[in-house]
C-alpha cells in the first residue's frame, strides 16, 4: 500500500501542504511551484565492454522549472554535452553548451513516480580557435522515461533513460598509416541512448 495519503491537503487546511503528495512513511513528492535541479548523464554505450566500438557521451546540466500540478512541469536548463559519433567508420568528437526548454509528465502519482519527459535545445559549439574539436552550433532534443524517488527531505532523486539527438556540422582531420592527411567535413545527427541521474530541489 504505497499511497496512503495520495491526496494533497486542501489549501485552506494547511497551506504548507499545498502541492504535496505525502506518504505514510514521511516521504513525499512536490507537485506545485518552483524547483531546480542538476543531472548527469552518460551514454549507455560507455558500459560496453568493446572499447573499440563504443561511443562515449557525457552530459551535465542544471535547470529551473515550474510544476503546474501533479502531472505537468516545465523547465529551462543549461548543459554541457560531450558526444562521440561515428559515421562511415570515422569517429568525431563534439562538445556543446546547450540551452533548452523541456517538459515532464508524471504518468502516475505512485510513491515511485514514473514520468516521461522531453526537451528541445540549441547547442553552441566550441570557439573555433584553440579547440580540439571544430564544429558549428546545432539543435538538439531529448526524450526519455524516468522514475522519481520520494524523500522526506526537500531534495528528490530521479533516474531516467533518454534518447538524445544532436545535430552537428564540422570538420576533423586524421592521419592515415602512410602519414597522409585525411580531411573530413561532416553533417550528422547524433543518436545516443543515455542514462541520467539527477536531483531536484525546491
Amino acid at each position: 500500500m504505497d499511497t496512503v495519503n495520495a491526496q494533497s491537503y486542501p489549501p485552506d487546511v494547511n497551506s504548507q501542504y499545498f502541492g504535496v503528495i505525502q506518504y505514510d512513511d514521511g516521504t513525499y513528492h512536490d507537485t506545485y511551484g518552483f524547483h531546480y535541479g542538476f543531472a548527469i548523464a552518460i551514454g549507455l554505450d560507455d558500459f560496453s565492454t568493446d572499447t573499440t566500438q563504443h561511443l562515449g557521451a557525457a552530459h551535465i546540466d542544471s535547470y529551473l522549472g515550474w510544476r503546474f500540478g501533479k502531472k505537468v512541469s516545465l523547465t529551462s536548463g543549461l548543459g554541457f554535452e560531450f558526444n562521440e559519433s561515428r559515421i562511415a567508420g570515422f569517429r568525431f568528437d563534439t562538445q556543446f553548451l546547450t540551452f533548452y526548454l523541456g517538459g515532464r509528465y508524471n504518468l502516475t502519482n505512485t510513491k515511485y513516480m514514473p514520468f516521461v519527459y522531453g526537451r528541445v535545445g540549441y547547442g553552441f559549439g566550441p570557439p573555433q580557435e584553440g579547440s580540439i574539436v571544430n564544429h558549428d552550433d546545432g539543435t538538439n532534443y531529448q526524450a526519455g522515461v524516468g522514475l522519481t524517488f520520494p524523500s522526506p527531505k526537500p531534495h528528490k532523486y530521479f533516474v531516467a533513460v533518454a534518447w538524445h539527438h544532436q545535430q552537428a556540422k564540422g570538420t576533423e582531420s586524421f592521419i592515415d598509416p602512410l602519414g597522409n592527411e585525411i580531411n573530413t567535413k561532416y553533417d550528422i545527427l547524433i543518436n545516443r541512448l543515455v542514462i541520467k541521474f539527477g536531483m531536484e530541489l525546491n
Binding site: E129, I132, V161, L178, I182, T184, K185
Partner: protein
Amino acid sequence: MVFMKNLLLGLIAFSIIGCTTDYGTVQVTYQEATAIYGDIDEIRSQPLNETIREINNPGKIYLGSDMILIGEEQEGIHVIDNTDPVNPTAVNFINIPGNREFFVKDNKIFAETYYDVVKIDVSDMQNAVLDSRAEFVFQDVWKNAQEETLIGFSFKEVTAELNQDDDFSKQVLAENEIYLDYAKNIIPKSALPSSFAGSGSKVSGTANRVTYSDEHVYIIGNNSMYIVADEAQGLNNINKISNIGEGMETIFPYENNLYVGSRSAVNIFNITDPRQPEEAYEFNHATACDPVLPADGVAYVTLRTADFSACPGNINSLLVLDTRDIHDVDQKEEIAMSSPYGMTIKGNELYVGEGENGLKIFDISDKYKPELLRTINNVKAYDVIPHPTIGNLILTTGPDGVSQYLVNENGESLTLQSSISY
C-alpha cells in the same frame, strides 16, 4: 487508461532501443594510395651515378664543407659542388630508388632505399661508390600474386561523399596489411614541407629520421626504431625495437643519448649500449610537430601547429628543457613563436626557422633563458643549417629553394650569397 500508459511506455522504449545509430554524411578528402610492385633485384642493380637533372620534388638537405646534397624524393640525391658558396654547381645525381631519408657522416651517405639501407661513399662528388648494403632492414619482402615486390605507393587526392553505412575509413585509416610496410617510415608530407632540411653529423638540421652515432645508424619509423651497425665488413642489420612511441618524427643524437621527437613527446634513449637503446625519459607536451635540438644539458623543442594541417591547434612555441639529468627533465621556458620549424645553434646564438615568418635569433648565453635578439623577416626559413667550416655562413631552406647567407659581424643582417631554386 492503464492500457494507454503502457502503450506509451512501450512506444518510447521501442523508439529508444531502435534508434541509437548516428546518421549523416561525411565528405572525405584523402590521398588514395596505390601499391607499386617491381623487381627488387633489378632495382638494386641499377647504376648509382646518373647525369644531373632538375630538382622537382626536394626532400632532405645536407650541407657539408664543400658540397650540398639535396634529396629528390623517392629517386635519389642531387650532389652540388659548394666549394664556392657564391656559385654552387650541380655535379652528379646519385640514383637511390625509393629514398626519402638519408644521413651523412664523413663523406658517407647512409640512406634508406625501399627495404634496405645503403652506405655510399661521396668522397669523389662526381663518382659516388656503393660501400655496402643491409637488406630488408625495415620489413620482410611483401609480394603480390605475381611474385612482384612491393616497392612503394603512388598517391592521388580523392574526395568522396560517404554516408553512415559506408565503412570506408577502414580503407584509409585502419592498418591493414598493405600498410604494414616500410612505408611507415615515410615523413608525413603534410607534416613537413618537402623542403624541410637536415642531415649530417655536426651540422644537421633538426628534422631527421635517420641519424648516426658510435658506428650505428638509427632510423625511426612511425613507432619503431631500426638499428644498423656500420661495421668494417659493411652494414649489418642488427635490431628493430617496436612500439617505442607513436608518431615519431625526428631523431637527433647527443653524447650517449638519442632525442626522439614525436607529436606529443620528446623521448630520450640512452645508447651506452648502441645496439640496445633504452628509454631514459619521456617528456610529454601538447600535440604538435616538434623538432628537438639537444645541446649541453639543454634541449630546445619547437612546437608547431596550424589549422588544417597534420598538427592542428594553435600552439606555436619554443620549449627549453633542462636535460642535465635525463631521468628528470625539467621545462625551464616556453617562448611564444609564430610558426617554428627547425633550429640550429651557432656559438651563443640559437637560430629558429619560422617558415614564412622569417628567422628568429636568440641569445643563449644563458642556455636556459633564451633572449630574442632579432627577427629577420626577409627570409623564409623552414630549417637552418650552419656551414661546418665557414663560421658566418648559414643555409636556410624555404618553400622555393635553399639559400646561403653570410651573417654579418654584428649578426643583424644576412647577405644572400646564392640560391638554388626548385
